[in-house]
Amino acid sequence: MEPEKKGKYASSPEWSNITPIPLNDGSDSGAQPLATIAYAPEYLEATSYLRAVMADNEMSERALALTEDIIKMNPAHYTVWNYRAKILFALEKDLLDELDWLNGVSLKYLKNYQIWYSPSIYTIPSTNGERHHRQVLISSRQHFPTLPTGEPAFLMSMFEQDSKNYHVWTYRHWLVRHFRLWDSPQELSDVESLLDSDVRNNSAWNHRFMLKFGPRDDEPAGLPNSTTLPPEQKGRLDVVDEEVVDAELDYAKGKIVLAPQNRSPWAYARGVLRAAGRGVGEWLSFVSQFVGAEAESVKSTHALEWLVDVYLEDSEHEKKEEAVRLLNLLKERYDPIRKNYWDYRIRMVEGVV
């Protein structure tokens, strides 16, 4: 399909020595292809010039400008991002300028996705051209021996639009490892400000865990000793800083009080205790306040489940009958949608499983 009028590339003297390569969508084989794609003429023209310069592996200013033009029309075109990175390195461009430009693209892209598309389209997984491009640039030690100063602020502006954006968090995690930022005050204060504005931000909780307890050796992992210990024990640290552990448990408590049914700080606290090799029993009095004397004023199913685990943890705390009674409350009254899960746990206690 040829554009009807001469496009801006076809009429540009700068591009006159290039013979565009039209899209081969299989239709030249004679059959009407299953998935032809209707393109805007401008897009079709630009990509036909892209194919031509890519075929020559041209590293030039005009090719760079062409990639920008295409990205503006379709930032999801993953091939063009790869080509752009190659050109930037080949021409030794200032990568800080590129990051500035990229900040605008990313913010606009995120916004446009939210405005143009139904939320359902937004959740479709795909390649992440612009975020990956960023990582390709910043991973150049030669250009970025240390964290570019504007990076945390840029990430916070991304989080302003979507504080749980999975790919932005994953990228931030990569930054922490790449520049060894576990103890950076900025990392922790950003996480805290995000949790202050939304205590239910599970992504921020995960990032906090990673900063405080994530393995720092060359092999990244979500948990300490994730491959060396059996499934029931992994997550346990070799060396425990009890002060950090106590401070983190206090932090979690403070957040649980604000929203007792919020799952994230409960899971966080369990992870902290596991890392420290300490039991759940030390929280007996803390969790009891969310359950009430006879489990008559339950403010949190997580507290109820925690109490069950305390009663089953060791001989000091053991109260099997009470544990079964609480599990039955969860099953019948507080969390019946997971009836079969609670049944399974009851059968475990009774030794049937």
């Binding site: 969508d25 299989g26 091939t79 479709i124 997984p125 390649t127 994953t170 799952r263």
Partner: protein, 337 residues
Amino acid sequence: MTLASSPSRTPTGPQPGDLYVQKHVDYIKNLDSRRDELEYWLTEHLRLNGVYWGLTALHLLGHPGALPRDKTIDFILSCQQDNGGFAAAPGHDAHMLYTVSAVQILVTLDAVDELEKPGRGGKHKLGSFIAGLQDKETGTFMGDEWGERDTRFLYGALNALSLLGLLDLVDVPKAVSYIQKCENFDGAYGIRPGAESHAGQVFTCVGALAIAGRLDLVNRDRLGGWLSERQLENGGLNGRPEKLADSCYSWWVGASLAMIDRLHWVDSDRLAAFILKCQVSPFDTIPTLGTTNAVQDPEGGGFGDRPDNMADVFHTVFSVAGLSLLKFDGVLEVDPV
């Protein structure tokens, strides 16, 4: 995802609350005629995946012939690049995601032999493309030569290679060890080591372990507990704590639970009811106001991410696959891996 067994029966005449099989079949068949829509050409980078999603949904709905087999194969082959891998659409770079979809489509259509035709290089060339993307140090897989790493690629690689009988081309134990590093303090898995737990990534990690025969490494009770907590009061499943339910997690969560024998830990009646509500039904003829998209297709068909949202092929296949896991009448049974 492959078919596990023969069809059960198809329900008769759509009633509110039913599964509108014919509407969904028509919806998928007509996807390609919506080329004038902006979203269509902006989602070019998903085209090959889209064909896979549509085709799989049609197979599960018992209408495998609704997309023309020959044209589908022609399109898939037109996406193959010189390095043996497949791109999202003709003229793009080869990438793991689309290569895996291509293999799944060719297997579904019983057309893997097409690769052996002159100029295609055979299934070994394709397998070598995938194997070449394994990171020899860590065991994970990259999406393409640019090195984005994601457990989706790892699962996809093992899935495609096992379908082709070529698993011996890669270092499976190393891949398994990488997956273990993706486990988090909450007992679930993320996209890379240290990344937040996410139900989609749980599926890719558990699926890869299942293919590798290493489900013994999973703490089933803990992971099953986390997965069952994804069910919300409306019956639907979310992908992470404190997020909204979304129909596609019916598959990601459901299949993960099925692989560790704990699917019954969610309430299947309430889940099925939620999925059915995500259908764009022939009874909804009024555009949904207040959402970002102004008009729904009055013809209906397809599934959206949640009730009253627009349909798309991605949520359609994973809704149908979710119903399949629940052994819903009118949907063929699926293999959760």
